[in-house]
């Protein structure tokens, strides 16, 4: 038996894993709208930031009431030009509006977490003579403080910007979330049916079936944070895949969309910058080719994301079925519905290596590895119970480096390995996964949650055996996360989540039969997290 090689990468990986599992993804509710319309958060949200049917219609309409918006605005917008200026166009600027008050919302959260006793086992991973980071049994920790603004500029032009000022108490770790303009219902210019075509431009979360940025859970969905890194463990068949893109990433580009989220069809298709190498736009600049804000793409190819869905509202009465909200016996409510959808993401991951030509001249070798993410999703809602889930299949073409003799070059490439001269198709790197979640709104202020996440990636397991990733004991990582959430007020939420984490290991042996590395003595590092979150 040999203990695994102790590595800082293990330690970093474990810390990263804990971070992503414990701390929440960014989520938002919009107090700015509550102020402008002088209405409760509950008008659009059931357990913020989860949108109810009216909130979905409000978002679809470009952050406006679906009909008669002016009649509901308690703070009239400021005219940036009299409506009659339209008659003078093009000799006058087309008149627009800005919200009558700064449409600013702020958000803060804070946590208390209790981690199970196994947390100390990761100490075995640090190199001799160094001290492992101390993971306390219990901990009060600050979350993030963020600002978000959203609204409508008139002429059906909506806007959204959100940014984190502070993350984890540090004012340097924040960043821009989404920042976009949405030209709602531009199809009217082409005499298309109302709401059949809108255009979004800027930086945005993809039109995922279930938002990672605006989900109600303390921890995000594992599958949306799944990158696809090919196995680099030399004991197994290696894969030259280094695709760091995750579906939760904010993307830069344009998106066409149409239909409604609260009933009937919905579609979107986005063309976005490719960034599979984890490129930092701000630092990716050239003194010789100046750019106002750096370059965000790592290739010329634009990735494509498409989604289609159809929601069947199940009310018998057609008027109720087609309305924004269903007409219940005791008042309007979310529809009883079945929503089915599918999505597809296509890109061409690019890697560049120092190599040489077949003639022996030094060259930068560029390898393009097409990849896709595809899957389906469902959501079923019956009164206060909403059950939903998603499946994803990830597939990356694997181009293995070869030397001038056609022999595969061991990974990772470094000066000690033979110089690569070309690439050869290998076995693709794939993963599957998804989640199923049930939300039961016991009272308007009390939500019970049960969730199961699973990610099945042989690459992740092999990489962990090579010390290049957080240790995974199984190829499939299952996580059960029951939770409960209380709305103290419509804008203050207390959440509890217990994370039954996947099995991990810090002990690796060489299997005497196969001669391959294998992890043993699995354990779980579960965490109970309480979060307080408020928006105002």
């Amino acid at each position: 038996m040999r203990t695994n090689s102790i590595s800082n990468r293990y330690r970093l990986g474990c810390i990263c894993l804990l971070f992503f599992l414990v701390f929440p993804s960014v989520s938002h509710a919009i107090p700015a709208f509550a102020r402008q319309y002088q209405t409760s958060c509950a008008t659009c949200h059931s357990d913020f930031p989860k949108l109810n049917d009216f909130g979905k219609a409000f978002k679809d309409a470009g952050f406006k009431f679906p009909t008669d918006d002016e009649g509901f605005l308690k703070v009239p917008p400021v005219l940036l030009g009299a409506p009659a200026q339209k008659d003078l166009f093009p000799k006058a600027i087309w008149p627009g509006t800005i919200p009558g008050m700064p449409p600013i919302g702020l958000r803060m959260n804070t946590f208390f977490q209790k981690t199970s006793g196994n947390r100390g086992k990761f100490d075995a991973l640090v190199p001799p003579g160094t001290v492992a980071p101390f993971i306390p049994k219990t901990d009060f920790s600050t979350g993030l403080f963020s600002i978000f603004t959203a609204g409508n500029f008139g002429s059906d032009i909506a806007f959204w910007v959100d940014s984190d000022f502070n993350v984890g108490g540090d004012n340097t770790a924040g960043g821009l979330g989404d920042g976009y303009l949405k030209f709602v219902n531009i199809g009217r210019l082409l005499k298309m049916k109302k709401d059949s075509l809108s255009l979004r431009v800027g930086r945005f979360e993809l039109d995922l079936p279930f938002s990672q940025a605006r989900n109600i859970n303390i921890s995000g969905y594992d599958i949306f944070d799944q990158a696809n890194l090919g196995n680099i463990n030399p004991a197994f068949t290696q894969k030259n895949v280094n695709n760091q893109l995750t579906m939760a990433d904010a993307m830069n580009g344009i998106e066409f969309s149409g239909g409604h989220q609260y009933g009937g069809y919905h579609y979107s298709i986005a063309f976005i910058d490719q960034n599979t190498s984890g490129l930092n736009q701000a630092s990716n600049n050239s003194d010789f080719v100046p750019s106002p804000a750096g370059f965000a793409s790592d290739s010329n190819f634009k990735d494509i994301y498409a989604r289609v869905s159809y929601r069947f509202n199940l009310e018998r009465d057609p008027a109720s079925r087609n309305a924004v909200q269903a007409a219940g016996a005791s008042g309007p409510r979310d529809h009883t519905y079945i929503n089915l959808g599918s999505y597809y993401f296509y890109g061409r991951s690019v890697q560049r290596f120092s190599g040489e030509t077949l003639l022996g001249d030094p060259a930068v070798l560029t390898v393009r590895e097409p990849f896709y993410r595809a899957g389906g999703d469902f959501s079923v809602n019956y009164r206060a119970l909403n059950v939903y889930g998603l499946f994803m299949y990830g597939h990356d073409v694997n181009q293995l480096p070869i030397d001038s003799t056609g022999t595969p070059v061991p990974l990772p490439l470094d000066p000690a390995t033979p110089t690569a001269t070309g690439f050869l198709h290998g076995q693709p790197a794939t993963f599957t996964g998804g989640f199923v979640q049930a939300d039961y709104l016991i009272h308007p202020w009390l939500m019970a949650i049960m969730r199961w996440d699973a990610v099945n990636s042989g690459e992740d397991k092999l990489n962990s055996l090579a010390g290049a990733a957080p240790l995974t004991f199984h190829t499939t990582r299952n996580r059960f996360t029951p939770g409960i959430q209380f709305l103290i007020h419509a804008n203050i939420k207390a959440s509890f989540e217990y994370q039954f984490r996947p099995q991990q290991s810090v002990t690796i042996i060489t299997n005497p039969i196969t001669g391959l590395p294998s992890s043993i003595e699995p354990f779980r590092t579960n965490t109970a997290v309480v979060a307080l979150e408020w928006v105002y």
Partner: protein, 190 residues
């Protein structure tokens, strides 16, 4: 001549009787914009059969406060282009009298006849910020005060009553009074 004399005496008797058996109740309630209504031990017949309208418009109940006599029918109108609901969790704290009116589209009404006296807090279950009030008075003797709190209820028959003063967010205040001619009752609501 004799007939005329009898008629004159009768009229005078009636006027005198009216003057001696009906007075008024005046006073002041702090804060202003409150409601004052009288309860009587003796049954008082319903004097109105005309329905009144409570509107839902611009995400608010209009009027915000309405006083009606027991037995009055209120028509709840939805003037908004969003769906609304009307329900009340109790009448004067009696949760057995809760009622939910359901859902109806813009421009339509739903009627309800109030046969229980008390304070009815109207709510909408999709817009929690919305609230309205219907004060169901068991007698036709009620008034809404002005902004300064002044009120006047005319033609109150002499007798013993309980005067109630109500204001949104304050505890209802009650006093037993005997109305004889012009009577006054002031309230400071906490």
């Amino acid at each position: 001549m004799k007939t005329k004399y009898v008629l004159l005496v009768s009229v005078l008797a009636l006027v005198t009787a009216q003057m001696s058996f009906a007075g008024s109740l005046k006073g002041k309630v702090a804060p202003g914009k409150s409601v004052v209504y009288l309860e009587s031990a003796a049954p008082v017949p319903v004097t109105t059969d005309k329905p009144v309208t409570m509107d839902q418009k611009g995400l608010s109940f209009q009027p915000h406060v309405m006083v009606i006599q027991l037995g009055t029918t209120v028509e709840f109108l939805n003037s908004d282009k969003v769906q609304h609901n009307v329900f009340w969790p109790s009448i004067s704290g009696d949760k057995k009298k809760t009622h939910n009116m359901g859902t109806w589209p813009q421009g339509q009404k739903k009627a309800f006849k109030f046969n229980d006296p008390g304070v009815v807090t109207l709510l909408c279950n999709v817009h929690p910020e919305m609230a309205g009030y219907i004060i169901v008075s068991p007698t036709p003797y009620f008034a809404e005060t002005d902004a300064n709190g002044a009120y006047s209820i005319a033609n109150v028959p002499d007798g013993q009553y309980t005067v109630n003063a109500w204001h949104e967010g304050k505890k209802i205040s009650s006093k037993k009074i005997t109305v004889t001619g012009d009577t006054s009752a002031d309230f400071t609501l906490q």
